[in-house]
Symmetry: C2
Subunit: 190 residues, 2 copies
Amino acid sequence: MAPSSRPYHHGGLKAALLKAAVETISASSPASMSLREVARRAGVTHAAAIYHYGDKAGLLTAVAVDGFRLLTAQITSAYQAYEDFLEVGVAYVRFAVEHRAHFEVMYRPDLYHAGDPELLEAKAAAAQLLYGSEHPDPGQLLAGVAAWSVVHGLATLWLNGNLPEQLGKDPEAITRLVASRLPPSTGAAP
Amino acid sequence: MAPSSRPYHHGGLKAALLKAAVETISASSPASMSLREVARRAGVTHAAAIYHYGDKAGLLTAVAVDGFRLLTAQITSAYQAYEDFLEVGVAYVRFAVEHRAHFEVMYRPDLYHAGDPELLEAKAAAAQLLYGSEHPDPGQLLAGVAAWSVVHGLATLWLNGNLPEQLGKDPEAITRLVASRLPPSTGAAP
DNA sequence: AACCGCATCTAACCAGTGGTTAGATTATCT
DNA sequence: AGATAATCTAACCACTGGTTAGATGCGGTT
C-alpha cells in the first residue's frame, strides 16, 4: 500500500476488512454495523467483503475468533505476570473494556456462525483457560465457573451502564473491590 | 377479538404488537427481529406499529420496560416467599431463562431508547432491588453488586451456551452449586 | 514472450427493511 | 347528525445483505 490509492488487488484486503469491521463496531454497536459501511471504510465494494468472508455473519465470526484469541493471549500473560487469580479477573474486565467491539461480538452468538470450527477452537481454548485446566475436580470447575461468572457479569453490566455510579469510573478498580467482597480464598493453583 | 378476522380499529393493537414482538424475538433473536414481521404477526401494516411506538427502537424499549417490571415483580415475590438471598439469585436466573426474549433486549441498550423516562424508572426500580435498598453502606452495596454480577454472568453465559456441559442442563441447579462455592456469608438482611 | 488459468474485485440487480407521507376508515364527542 | 381526532393502509424512499455476470490483473507454464 505504498502511494495511497492504488493497491488494487489489495494484498491485505481480508485483514483490512477485519480491522474496518472492528472500527465500525467500536463507533456504534455490533447490531448496527453494516457490511457496506465496513467495505466503504476499506475502499471496496461490499461484494468484495462477501467474497472474502462469505457473508456478514462470516465477517463477524472472524471478529469473534480474533477476540477469543486476543482474550486468551491477554489472560495468559496476565497470569504469567502476576500468578494471581485476582489479576486474571481484572485482566478479563480490562479486555472487555479495551476491546469492547470484540467482546460484544464474542458473546452474541446469534450474530455469527457459532458452529464454525475455528471459532469453536478459539472459544474452547479461552474457556479452558478460564475455568481451570483440563479435567479439574468438580469443585475446581465450579470455582472457575463462579470466578468467570463474576467478572463476566461485572464486565457486561459495566459496558451497559448498569452499575451504580457511586462505584466510580474505573472498572478495574471496581473489579478489585467486588472481588475483595467475595471468597476469602477459592481454590488451589492449577 | 371475538370472531377472528375483524377487530379493525383493533382495540388492543399496542399490546398485541408488544406480545408479537416478544414472540418473534423468542423465535429467533432481538437483532434479527423485523418490525414488518412483528406487524405481520399482528395482522397489520408495519406503519401501524410505527404509529404506536414511534420506531423500531421504541417497540424494543417497550419490551425492555416490560422486562424490567416483570423482573422486579418476580424478584420481589421470590424474596417474600423465601426470605433468602440465594433464592433471589435463583429467581434472577430463572427469569433470564423463562423470559429470554425480554432479558436479551433489556441488556442490549443499543437496541432501544436507553434514555426513555419509563425505561429509566423501571430499570432503577429493578436495580435498587438488586443491589439492596436505598442508601446502603459501601459494603452492602458492593455485596449487592457482587451478587448481581454472579447471577447476571451465569445467566448470560448460560444463554450463550458458554458453560461447560459437565454442569448439567438445569441453570437453576447450577446457580445453587456456584453460589455454594462463593461467599460463606455475605451480608445482613436489607 | 505470449498465454492461460485463477484469484480478486466491480457493477448491476434483487427482495426485504425501517421510516415518511398522504389519505382512507372508523370511533368519539357534542 | 356532523365534525374532530384517533387509528390504520398504501405507496414511496434510501438502504441493506446477498447473488450473478463480467472486468481486471496476478502467477506460472510453455
